[in-house]
Amino acid sequence: MKVIDWVDERLDLSGVRHFVADKGVPVHAQKIWYYLGGMTLCLFGVQVLTGILLLLYYRPSATEAYESVQFIVTQVQFGWLIRNLHSWSANLLIGLAFAHFFSVFFLKSYRKPRELTWVSGILLLFLMLGFGFSGYLLPWNELAFFATKVGTGIAGAVPLVGRFALRLLRGGDDVTGATLSRFYGLHVAVLPAITTALVALHLLFVQRQGMSVPIGVERKLKPGEHLPQMPFFPNYVLRDVLAWYVVIAVLAALAAFYPWELGTKADPFAPVPAGIRPEWYFLAMFHTLKLVPSHVLGIEGEHLGVVAFGLAAMFLVLVPFLDRRASRGEPSRLFTLVAALGLLYLVSFTIIGHYAK
């Protein structure tokens, strides 16, 4: 007796079996973008796996964190590979998450009835940024220490609750071992728990509602005409797995040829080294805040910048509810323009921020 039959006999998998057999994926010119979500999910799996392995040796204290990472990369068998995979995978994951976000934005896949899929996806993107921010400090090296000081300082600029947020993040007035403990807790417990739940919800929505068809493709269909469908299993799943393997090959090559530098141990009493900047995915925001004048119409510039970013985040969450044309299945040039400007802003400010002194 096959295992599947054994399980089927006890749990009645006919519903799942029918779902898998009947589920189809629309075939059209833009179907390539469908794979980005799966690739992001694959990297999330890599992060979970390598993160658990790192946890076996990592020690979250100001006196031991740096040394424990050093031990991982020098003494632990394949520790260097695990750490490099974790660091590179984190960056690729955020890059792919952004690509997935923009593809969904441009294709208007957020439109009715997929509003909740979009909201859960945006929240997942924010969570990925939270993972990046909290994980960056964990090796307790000089660059991470001062970048976290700057980053948490920005959180302190939030009007009304800034001081509270800053102390909550840092565990005091300054970045210390207490901050490291908090970031560690966030990185390995709080964020993974929320993320796992949201990923499950996001996948459930995607499976329940199927893949969205771009408005342009949909409008070209004649009445009664249907898009050709590709069976989800095995045709689409095998293509997804193929994409995952490509991602893993790229990741392995990056980890082997461009090892993630550990840097020097953080010294809170050392002068701030030159060229302190956050990870690339925060560069655009960081550089924007640098350009904002100290006071605008009597309001402190940094406060204004942080509020603007907060409003932008809120706008992103609410996009499916604001874009009424897309929800009616009509072309929505305004929101395409917003997406294009957003992409242009992020790319240009990240590049400028990278080269700015």
């Binding site: 050093q70 990369v73 020098t74 260097w80 590979l81 490099n84 069976p231 095995p234 045709n235 095998l238 293509r239 797995v241 193929l242 393997y245 490509v246 893993i248 090959a249 392995a252 090559a253 082997a256 040829f257 461009y258 090892p259 550990l262």
Partner: protein, 451 residues
Amino acid sequence: MLMSDASSAAQRGSRSSVAAGPVLARLCVLVVLLVSTHPLYAQSPPAANGCVACHSTQADSRLATPAALFTEPDVHRESGFACVDCHGGSASSSDVARAHAPAEGFKGKPAGQTVVATCARCHSDANVMRRYAPKQRVDQATEYAASVHGQQLAKGDLKVATCSSCHNAHGIRRISDAKSPVFPTNVANTCATCHTDEKRMAGYTLPGGGALPTHQLADYQKSVHYAALTKGNDPSAPTCNDCHGNHGAAPPGVGAVTNVCGTCHAVFAQKFAASVHQPIFDKGCVECHGNHAVVKPSDQMLSAAAGGACAACHTAGDASDKGTAAAVAMRTGIERLKSGIDDSGALLRRIKNAGIEVSDEQLALREAGTKLTLARTEIHGFEVGRVEAILADGMKVVEAVARAGQDGVAELRFRRRGLAVSLGAILIFVVALGLKIRQIDRRDRTRRASL
């Protein structure tokens, strides 16, 4: 002026104290009486500085310049002193003759011993100095009297430097002021004002009998000390007064050179003191390193060949010359350790760039560098065995680091081979998957066509 203010302040204090109580009042009167017996307090000129007011308007620069300088940053004016405190006379009199009358205590422009005596009235009095600069020494006049300058002055030589030659007479700045002529970075030029002047130095001789040279500044400007002071911004680097003394300035005696250099280079002096060269080298450190033009020492100095410091006494290539053999042995060991450190360092940098963590090895290599420094220090004891023992310790570290470096290279090869194998396996799987997808798609198309 400050003295009179202090005096009157003490008097004001005494009046209020009388009202407060008889014991305190008596104490205050006693203090006032004691203070007022000092000659400076006894003068108590009026507050107005008529000297400056009048001298500033003079066309003769010899009269106007001192007044102008005194109104610029001047430690004495800032502390409340006036012209009359050094020159005497009356600052309040508008009558020129009366202001400069001997009856008013006018002394005119001090010169020679009078300069020293004028400054010493306050600067050799601990009670006075305690009120303005309590940490300042009060033995400058005594030191000066023991210096070559002071001794020449005592013989009636008025060309020699006195207090005002180095510190200025008016516009005197604190020694911590970077514009002061005796601020560390300015000392050499201040001394050179006279010591590079061939006419002025003519007739003066060195303790050994030779003519006093005038190229000390030029020599000093070539030295590692000058570079540290002016380019390295290290105010603790030695300038003229650090070796010759300042108020007690004199050339260090032949036997004192090692002690003078040893003030900073204590370990070198200690090693040299116990060395075979100590009784032979008349000028101590100067024999190899020079005096004013002390250049950065190099390993090339350890050689009996031309250009080496040993060449003056030892013969290169002479097998019977123990000194030459010792120099060759020590130099060879140093060069071996140096190249070992360089090679291992280059290897570590290469594998570090490729992603191998080498912090421990780099730390160990620093330890080898320390051994090299220790060996270079030990050379001053001129005992080959001791130097070689230190170098051998350094070589052990270098060899261990080199082995770790080679392990790192092997690890890199292993990683790259592993990656190539993994990528190969992934590629095969991807191709197989691609073929499978094509097969499934073809099967589906056939099935749809048959329906």
